[in-house]
């Protein structure tokens, strides 16, 4: 839905540049491991590089919502077939002017972490450790699966007045190249 909306907005505003992808987010390392209790865990090291526009917005109190989208589906699945499992890890990064600290807030567990520097906050944001994806026994051992991860800034979570311009301006397009690989459980 978001991609469709981005495309249509880009077409309607003919002056808009091509929406960039894989800018500002770099997946340095992604790994799936099998825990001792039979769960498939995700480890990832993602580096976020905020450009000046986004940094300025952050410094001015604009909360930035990053979403890590993890999909696992059968390799031979039809287009309309639903995913075996889908996780959306949404985290809000904001600057707290009173304390002068950067705060990460996990929207799922409402966990808050404060950081003295922006880099420390972004490092923590990009460090995914042992995120449970699915239990192995839930998968068909004779089936191939595709795991797809993409990370990006959620423009729809920006304050409403900023959204039209965020769709138009390339600076706000902070998304990763989808990371995808085949899994044989």
């Amino acid at each position: 839905m978001k991609t469709l909306a981005q495309t249509i907005v880009a077409i309607l505003f003919l002056c808009a540049p091509v929406i960039g992808i894989a800018e500002g987010v770099e997946m340095r390392r992604v790994a799936l491991t099998l825990s001792e209790d039979g769960r498939i865990l995700l480890d990832a090291d993602i580096k976020f590089n905020l450009n000046d526009t986004v940094s300025e917005a952050l410094e001015n109190g604009v909360p930035l919502t990053f979403e890590t989208h993890v999909q696992l589906r059968r390799a031979s699945a039809w287009v309309w077939e639903s995913d075996v499992v889908e996780h959306r890890l949404r985290t809000v990064l904001r600057y707290r002017p009173l304390s002068g600290m950067y705060e990460l807030r996990n929207l799922v567990g409402d966990e808050r972490l404060s950081f003295a520097t922006r880099d420390a906050a972004l490092r923590t944001l990009g460090n995914i450790v042992a995120m449970p994806i699915i239990e192995r026994k839930q998968l068909d051992l004779d089936e191939d699966y595709l795991v797809r991860i993409d990370v990006g800034l959620d423009i729809e979570a920006l304050p409403l007045p900023m959204r039209p311009m965020a769709y138009i301006k390339r600076d706000w397009s902070i998304t990763s190249e989808p990371w995808e690989w085949r899994l044989r459980p």
């Binding site: 909306a5 604009v62 009173l98 600290m101 409402d110 808050r112 404060s114 420390a120 039209p164």
Partner: protein
């Protein structure tokens, strides 16, 4: 046929109206989404897209309508100019106020948004934040001092002792959490207000580095419940390698005020930062409202103009149709009964009346044409010549009989003055003079017998004229009616001659026999008794008497033959065979009689005795005309005319031929160029031939001599068919 465009128009109107309503609803929801972004914010972009797409469609609709209007304007379609003018007027009327409102709205909006963020507010917000920071700083310093003291109070650095003492420290200090680390980051002891929490709140690497470097850290962070916490990281001054982290809850009142202030400050900073985006969003919404208003107004203008002008266009179209002769044109009535509806009603009534009048006129014309045809047929069938003249004596119409009688064509007669007719046909001058004389004398109705001398001979016309009154009592010309009574007069004359001959024969024939008998008795009684000289005289005298009486008898018999009504005893007759028998009687004489017979096999119905008399009369005339060395040819041939066979029999001689002055009258009784004879021979021939349904004429061929030709109908004709022909010939004779 007309229902489909009407339905389509209704559908277009409904679709456009629906689109406008949807766009209005979408704009309203955008407005709601802007005001309540938390609830409806996710609909903002889809609504924006929907509105933009809708506006593009509406723009296309308006553009299409305007293009159609322009095309009609260029093609000069009826009503297009008025529609265009009304559309422009409506659009301008809508554009001006909307543009003014838009311009000032944008100005007010821009200045209004700018007014939110003036310097005083900026300064006040910064001051408030600074004040809150100062207040927190004081609290932080106190907590840092407390933390240093707590760390200094630890005497036994064994892990067990520290685990025990840390609980006391947390309880006495009111901290939420107290953790002891080694400088390497190993947790030595932990005490948390919530005993279920077994892991410490980890400081970030920057804080740890700062503390390890010898600079204690104190800062404010948000707790899990959103309440502010003071975090202190203190390094043991006794260099025992211990770091103490304490998390103190900020007093509730201070925390609430500070959090509230922080939220307000953040909101203010965010809005200040988004000032241009807010302006853009409002401008976008307002522009969409403007565009919607403008497009809807333009579409409504085109629609309204067309709707208003439609009856006028219909009337213009209808007027054009009437001008082209289509009087059946009826215009659709407008639904609203206004002045235009009245106009359309009047137009329809007018065309109905015109159509009615046209139909009546057409019907009258048809009737008139029928009457004219009827009259023309009747007049054409008349044997009487009828001619209509206008007041100036110009010929208006003339029937076919007039053409035949006068010998000129109807086309030549039409439009000509009667005087012109006389000038062009000199032979008709007496007719013209008599008629014109009667007109000039002002004779209302006249009757005259006019004799013309023409190439075909004398022609007697019985002429009547009367005034031509198209309206009662108003004469606009004359009607001239004339009959050719030449043949009628001739027939009357023939009848009179026949009567004279019959009486004469009757009166003369009776005394002739006694005279003859008396003369013969005188001769017989006294011839022998008289002296020879007297006897000679008596003999000559009585002989003369007897001879002349014989001659008189012959003459009287001829008269009788001519006068007495005949009774034909017809039977089939082979023409050539019959002619051969007749001619055979003349062979052996001094004259040379030859035949040229080409009608072998053709049979006619004829009385052989009467026909033999005809041939004898003709041959006798030819013998007398040719003299001693006469050369006579009797010929026959078959012909066909009007689908009927006839035989033509001709008797030619090499004599002097007929007197040209008498050639047309040789078949009249007592017309002869001979010194002898009664002059009834050819008259009898004509009569017998006419009785057989034929006709006869005399001619002088180029090679010399004279020739009499007679036509007799063939046997193919039945008696019933012969009768009209016979009657026609007789009738023709009577008419002529």
């Amino acid at each position: 046929m007309a229902a489909a465009p009407v339905n389509k128009r209704r559908f277009d109107v409904a679709a456009a109206a629906m689109l406008v309503v949807l766009l209005l609803a979408s704009l309203h929801m955008i407005s709601a989404a802007v005001q309540r972004s938390e609830e409806l914010g996710q609909w903002f972009i889809p609504l924006l897209l929907f509105t933009l797409v809708g506006l593009v469609i509406l723009f296309g609709l308006v553009g299409w309508n305007l293009w159609q209007l322009l095309r009609d304007y260029r093609l000069r379609v009826a009503g297009s100019r008025l529609s265009a003018r009304l559309t422009v007027l409506f659009v301008v009327l809508a554009l001006v106020p909307v543009s003014v409102v838009y311009f000032y709205s944008m100005r007010f909006l821009s200045s209004g948004i700018d007014s939110w963020f003036d310097l005083q507010v900026d300064s006040a917000m910064e001051d408030a934040l600074t004040l809150s920071k100062l207040s927190l700083d004081l609290h932080k310093r106190e907590r840092l001092k407390l933390s240093e003291n707590l760390l200094s109070s630890i005497e036994d650095t064994s892990q067990t002792a520290m685990a025990l003492s840390v609980n006391d420290m947390r309880a006495s200090s009111g901290a939420l959490e107290i953790t002891l680390f080694s400088v390497q980051g190993k947790v030595l002891a932990l005490s948390h207000a919530n005993p279920d929490i077994l892991l410490p709140t980890a400081p970030d690497s920057g804080m740890v580095q700062q503390v390890v470097a010898g600079d204690n850290y104190v800062g404010v962070a948000s707790g899990p419940d959103g309440r502010l916490l003071v975090r202190c990281l203190v390094l043991d001054k006794a260099r025992r390698g211990i770091v103490l982290q304490a998390l103190y809850p900020v007093p509730e009142a201070l925390s609430d005020i500070s959090s509230s202030l922080q939220d307000a400050y953040e909101a203010y900073r965010t809005r200040a930062y988004m000032r241009s985006q807010i302006k853009f969003s409002f401008a976008l919404s307002l522009s969409m409202v403007l565009l919607l208003g403008l497009f809807a107004a333009a579409w409504a203008a085109v629609f309204t103009a067309r709707r208003l002008v439609q009856p006028i266009s219909d009337i213009a179209e209808g007027t054009r149709a009437v001008a082209e002769g289509n009087y059946d044109k009826q215009l659709p009535l407008p639904k609203v009964e206004d002045e235009l509806g009245f106009l359309v009603n009047s137009f329809n009534a007018m065309t109905r009346r015109i159509a009615h009048a046209r139909n009546a006129l057409e019907e009258g014309r048809h009737k008139l044409q029928a009457q004219h045809n009827y009259l023309e047929t009747v007049l054409g069938g008349l044997s009487t010549g009828v001619m209509a003249l206008d007041g100036d004596g110009r010929i208006q119409t003339a029937n076919r009989a007039a053409e035949q009688i006068l010998g000129v064509s109807v086309a030549d007669l039409a439009g000509q003055g009667l005087q012109e007719l006389g000038r062009h046909r000199e032979s008709l001058q007496p007719f013209v003079d008599r008629v014109m004389e009667s007109f000039e004398k002002g004779v209302h109705e006249g009757r005259a017998e006019i004799t013309l001398y023409r190439g075909a001979g004398r022609q007697v016309l019985l002429c009547r004229h009367s005034p031509l009154e198209t309206d009662p009592g108003t004469a606009t010309g004359h009607v001239l009616v004339f009959d050719d009574v030449t043949e009628l007069l001739k027939a009357q004359r023939d009848a009179a001659w026949g009567e004279v001959a019959r009486r004469l024969a009757h009166e003369i024939k009776n005394p002739l026999t006694p005279i003859q008998l008396s003369a013969e008795r005188l001769r017989r009684k006294y011839l022998g008794k008289l002296p020879p000289e007297d006897g000679v005289v008596l003999d000559r005298a009585t002989h003369t008497i007897v001879q002349q009486v014989e001659a008189m008898k012959t003459m009287v018999n001829d008269f009788s033959d001519y006068a007495k009504p005949s009774k034909l005893q017809v039977k089939p007759l082979q023409v050539d065979e019959f002619l051969g028998e007749v001619v055979a009687l003349y062979e052996g004489g001094t004259q040379h009689v030859v035949t040229d017979l080409n009608a072998s096999g053709l049979t006619i119905e004829a009385d052989p005795v009467r026909l033999r008399q005809v041939m004898h009369n003709l041959l006798k005339n030819a013998v007398e005309a040719g003299g001693e060395r006469g050369h006579i040819v009797v010929s026959s041939r078959v012909g066909a005319e009007g689908g009927n066979d006839f035989v033509e029999i001709a008797v030619s001689d090499n004599g002097p031929g007929f007197d040209p002055d008498l050639i047309d009258q040789v078949f009249e009784p007592y017309v002869t160029s001979k010194t002898k004879g009664t002059g009834l021979g050819l008259a009898i021939v004509k009569r017998i031939v006419a009785e057989h349904g034929g006709w006869v004429h005399a001619e002088n061929p180029h090679e010399g001599g004279g020739r009499v030709v007679l036509h007799l109908p063939g046997l193919a004709l039945s008696t019933d068919q012969q009768l009209p022909l016979l009657a026609g010939i007789d009738g023709e004779g009577e008419d002529a």
